[in-house]
Assembly symmetry: C2
Homo-oligomer: 358 residues x 2
C-alpha cells in the first residue's frame, strides 16, 4: 500500500497532477510549448503577486538559490541564518567563492530587522539572503518587516527563499519589495520534485549585467532572453511543466485567498492537536509556519519506532526532525491538497500511537 507523505516535502501528488504529467511530450521549441509557457507564466505571477518574469528552471530549488547569489552578488552577501536551510545558503555562497557573512540567530527564532539594519549600515553588502519559511524549524521570518529595512539600502539585492510557503501562504513579492524569490514545486504546489521557480526583478537583472562569470545554466540573463520568447534555455522538465500548468489552473479555481485560508485552517488543526497532546511548537507561536509544524518532542516519543508504526499500521509518513533537531522534533506538513478529513486521519492515527511510544 502506498504510504502517504506528510513530511515537509515532497508531499503527496494528486491523480489529477499525475494525469497532467503523462500527456505526450511536445518540443520545447514549438508553438504549443510557448502557449503552455504563457499560461504557466501568468498563473505563477498571480501567486508570486508580482509582475516580474518567473523563470522555470529544471533543478531542485537549491540550484536556483545558488544561482540567485551568483547572479547578483559582486561585493558581499549578508546571509540571515536561523536554521539548517538558511545556514546552508551561507555555505553555498562560500562554496562559490562569494564573500559572505552569516547574521546568526538561534534556530527557530525570527530574523531581527534591527540586526539586519545594523549589518547593512556597514555598507559591506550588496545582496541579502532571507529564508521566508525555514523548513527545518517550522518558522516564518517577518519578511515584510525585514524588507522595510532592506529597501533603505538600494545597493542591496534581496533574495528570498519561499520553498515551503509558496502558494500555501501569502508571499506578496511586489508588496514586500523583494528582488528575487525562489521556490520549488514539490511543497505546497504538491507536484513531483524537479523544477525550481524564480521570480526576478528588473533590478536583479540589471545587477546581473555587472556580475562576471555568472555561468550558463542558472544565468538570469540567458533565462530572461529565452523567457522573452516564452521558452527555456535548455530542454526543460516538460512533464512537470504540464503538471504546473494544470496546477495554476486548479489554484485559479480554488482562489488564492481560499487556498491560503485552507492551509491556515489545517495548520491550526495541527497546532490544536499539539496542545491537546501536551506538546509544544518549536518556534514561538507568532512565528510558526502556516504550511508545516515543527513540534518539540517534549514527551520523549521514540520517534523512529513511532514513525515506523505510523507507516506500517496507517500508511502515513511524518518527519522525525532535520539536522541537529533529529529526534528532538516532529515535523508535519499540511501543504498541498490536504483537507480537514485527510489531516484528521493523520492526527487520529498519531493519537493512537503516541500513547504507545511516549
Amino acid at each position: 500500500m502506498h504510504t502517504k507523505l506528510f513530511i515537509p516535502g515532497p508531499v503527496d501528488v494528486s491523480q489529477r497532477s499525475y494525469q497532467a504529467m503523462v500527456q505526450g511530450l511536445v518540443s520545447h521549441r514549438s508553438l504549443e510549448f510557448e502557449e503552455i509557457y504563457r499560461t504557466v507564466q501568468s498563473g505563477l505571477q498571480k501567486i508570486f503577486e508580482s509582475k516580474d518574469p518567473v523563470f522555470l528552471i529544471t533543478s531542485s530549488a537549491w540550484g536556483a538559490l545558488e544561482g540567485s547569489l551568483k547572479n547578483t552578488c559582486r561585493k558581499k552577501a549578508l546571509c540571515c541564518t536561523s536554521g539548517a536551510f538558511s545556514e546552508k545558503w551561507y555555505e553555498v555562497a562560500l562554496a562559490n567563492g562569494i564573500a559572505a557573512d552569516a547574521l546568526k540567530h538561534d534556530w527557530g527564532t525570527p530574523i531581527d530587522p534591527n540586526r539586519v539594519e545594523e549589518a547593512l549600515k556597514t555598507g559591506d553588502y550588496d545582496a541579502i539572503t532571507i529564508v521566508h519559511s525555514e523548513t527545518s524549524t517550522g518558522t516564518y521570518n517577518p519578511v515584510k518587516e525585514i524588507m522595510e529595512v532592506v529597501k533603505q539600502f538600494p545597493e542591496v539585492i534581496s533574495l528570498v527563499d519561499t520553498v515551503s510557503s509558496f502558494s500555501g501562504a501569502p508571499t506578496p513579492k511586489d508588496a514586500w519589495g523583494v528582488d528575487v524569490i525562489v521556490t520549488g514545486v514539490q511543497k505546497a504546489l504538491a507536484l513531483p520534485p524537479g523544477l525550481a521557480l524564480a521570480s526576478v526583478s528588473n533590478r536583479a537583472l540589471e545587477r546581473a549585467k555587472a556580475v562576471p562569470h555568472r555561468g550558463y545554466y542558472f544565468d538570469f540573463l540567458e533565462l530572461n532572453q529565452k523567457h522573452a520568447n516564452n521558452t527555456t534555455v535548455t530542454t526543460p522538465a516538460i512533464a512537470l511543466i504540464y503538471a504546473l500548468k494544470d496546477k495554476v489552473e486548479e489554484i485559479e479555481s480554488e482562489g488564492l485567498k481560499t487556498r491560503f485560508e485552507r492551509h491556515a485552517r489545517l495548520n491550526k488543526r495541527v497546532h490544536d492537536w499539539v496542545e491537546k497532546q501536551g506538546l509544544s511548537l518549536f518556534p514561538e507561536k507568532k512565528y510558526a509556519a502556516k504550511t508545516l509544524s515543527c513540534i518539540r518532542n517534549t514527551r520523549n516519543i521514540d520517534l523512529p519506532a513511532f514513525n515506523q508504526a505510523l507507516k506500517d499500521e496507517f500508511s502515513f509518513c511524518i518527519d522525525g526532525g532535520y539536522g541537529k533537531l533529529k529526534g528532538k522534533t516532529l515535523r508535519i506538513s499540511n501543504m498541498g491538497n490536504e483537507t480537514e478529513a485527510s489531516m484528521q486521519a493523520l492526527l487520529d492515527a498519531m493519537d493512537v500511537l503516541i500513547e504507545r511510544f511516549a
Copy 2:
C-alpha cells in the same frame, strides 16, 4: 491527436515509462529510495560500461556538462568543436571564467586525433571536452582514437558528452578511458527530460579536490558523498528516477547489444531512404550518427511547410535543422522505443509529402 516526436530529443515516451513515473512518491531520505537508487546505479553502470559511480543530477544535461568543467579544470580547457553543441560547451567554459581554447573543426567533420595531440603537446591544458554524438550535425566523433591520444597526457581530464548516443550506441567508458561522461534521459532512454547522468572517475574526483569554488549544486564531491549513501544531495526528480529504474530493467531484458543493433538497423533504414530519395547525409557516412540522421536538404524541400503537413496529416514531427543548419538540413531521430514498423510509417509519410514540397 498526439504528434509523435521524431526530433532528436525529446523523443516519444512509452506508456510503460509513464506508468512507472506516476507511482506515489517516497522521501529521498528513505530506505525505499536507497533501494531504487542502488538498482538504477547498477543498471546504469552496465550501460556506461564502467565501474565508476553515476551521479543522478536533477537538471538538463547542460547543467552537468557545465559542472563537469567547473569540477575538473584548473588551468585551461581544450574544447573540440565541430557543431552547435560542442561550440556551446566552449562558450559555457568562458561564461564561467574558465580559460579555454576551441579546437575548431568544420561542422559535420570528425575531430582529428592528430590535431588534438598537437594541441595537448603544448602542455597548456588540464581538461578536454569532446562531444561523442554532435546532435546538430548527426556526427559521431571517433572517441576511441581521440582517447588514445588523450591518455598520453595524464594531467588532462577527459569530459565526453554522449547525450544523443547513450544507450542507443556503444559508449564504453572504461574501455575508452574517459574520466567523465555526461548524458540525459530524454534521448535514447526515451524518458521525459529533467535528469542528467554523470559517470565520474576517481581521477576526476581527485582533481575536483584541488579545484576551488566548484559551487554546490553540481559539485562532484558533494554528489559523491551522498552517492556513498545511495542518495542525492538535494531533492531529486523522483518520478523520473522511478521511470529510469524501469528503463534500466527494460534495457536489461532487451539486452544492450540487441538494443544497439536495433538502433543501428533503424538508422540504416533512414540512410537507405535518404539514398532512395536522392538526398545525402550531412556528415561523411563513416562518421554518421547511429541514433539520428542529419540530412542535407539538397532537393530544396520547403521544410517549414513539409513539417507542418507531416504534423497535420500524419501526426509526426521531425526537425528542420539546428542553428546555422536551419532550413538546410532535416534531422530524424531513431532513438528510444522505435521499431521497423514505426520508422517505416514515418518514412512512408515522408515519401508522400516530399513530392509535394521538393
